[in-house]
Amino acid sequence: MEAASFPIRPAAPRRFAGASVGPPVESRVDEAAWLEAIATRADRAAFAQLFRRYAPKIKAHLRARGAAGAAADELTQEVMLVVWRKARLYDPARGSVAAWLYTISRNSLVNQARTARRRPDEAALADAFPEPDPPPTSEQALMAAQLRQSLAGSLSELPPEQREILEGAYWRGQTLQECAVERQIPLGTVKTRVRLALERLRGLMNGQARSTEE
């Protein structure tokens, strides 16, 4: 049942076993170049390219997280305007464009919910929170870059019960408790599956898949 709702397309043929999913390397370069063009030259054509590739995915993601039709469209526009405004804050050393877009989408949803709850005089603070601290050292940037690669492993290699949990959490924004309730399994089992899934993705990267149910 849950598998049917998963929006990720069936695994495309891979050039190498265990090669990363997601956009191939050339298109990642494109995306980073688009953002640089937006940041440095206010390049509207680059923005349109990025919009065509990602706005429909962002909309689908926001809908999966509960934004209704027109609101999902409006929120997608908001997210893309943030991309336009903050393009200079994107640092390719810290992650992929897609990862950056995910965090902006997440922050927009979260801030929307928080602003609705907050006392009006405090609403102004909401925008400041998402900015992360800069990495203190180049060592950290290096470590992050290595680990980031390690999880871009092939999701399709995961057993369905592990993949479903990641889908519930990442795509639909479920808490692990909500994942457990929906699937009628104990929270501890959900946590175990998350751990095994992440281990397996890292293992695939290292060419040593070693995930076994314990």
Binding site: A39, Y54, K57, A70, L151, G173
Partner: protein, 227 residues
């Protein structure tokens, strides 16, 4: 110093997806800012989020969406690089080197008050039913008597240290302590320097000693300052 008490991986997943509570997100953001290991882990989990977003099947936007947003770009100024000046801490907190996530929610006006002897707090603008989200300054040697929690508790230490009375585990700069309802404990600020920590209680504290109940009654009588 590298922290020794970390955020569990499954909780970092909720941090990255934004599914966790606002209080937990603030606590984890503070820990991650001070912890190389968890920062790398978060970067890795965000990479996975990007992979999942990029692999997702899209849904068409309403007709004319691209034209509509292009028309709005002219009235949408772009931020220059490093536009946001780092928020600064009040002078007496400067030695704590608070992370940006905390500074960005720290009230600009001085809202510090003494809740019980040896413990000064400032309320942070995060609303938690029955709970509190505060930056707390414990005087060295102060104890928090044996208590239980009505909801999850997240503590991140910025300076000084807190120590568990039963097993002596010590939480120093960057360390995160996560306690769930039913996990009872007594803590003590290590004697000497004061301890400054973010304390998120997503539920009422339940003192289990007479002294604790007395202190809580005193603290409640002080009341949070409302604007």
């Amino acid at each position: 110093m590298t922290p020794t008490h970390h955020v569990p991986e499954h909780a970092l997943v909720e941090f990255v997806t934004g599914a966790g509570t606002e209080g937990a997100a603030l606590a984890f953001a503070c820990h991650v800012a001070l912890c190389l290991k968890c920062a790398a882990e978060v970067a890795s989990l965000e990479g996975l989020a990007g992979t999942i977003l990029a692999a997702g099947a899209g849904q068409d936007l309403a007709a004319g969406a691209l034209e509509a947003i292009l028309a709005r770009l002219d009235e949408t100024p772009q931020l220059p690089a490093a536009s946001r000046p780092a928020p600064s801490a009040p002078a007496f907190l400067a030695p704590c080197k608070l992370p940006a996530a905390l500074l960005s929610v720290l009230p600009r006006n001085d809202g510090w008050r003494t809740v019980v002897p040896g413990m000064r707090v400032v309320d942070l603008p995060i609303v938690v039913p029955d709970g509190a989200v505060r930056l707390v300054r414990f005087k060295g040697g102060v104890t928090i008597p044996f208590h239980d929690h009505g909801g999850p508790e997240y503590i991140v230490v910025f300076t000084g240290a807190l120590e568990e009375e039963d097993d002596g585990r010590r939480f120093a700069r960057g360390d995160v302590s996560i306690r769930l309802p039913g996990e009872r404990h007594e803590q003590r600020a290590v004697p000497g320097e004061p301890c400054v920590a973010l304390v998120v209680n997503e539920g009422a504290l339940r003192p289990l000693t007479l002294r604790g109940r007395l202190l809580l009654a005193i603290a409640r009588a002080q009341g949070p300052r409302r604007k």
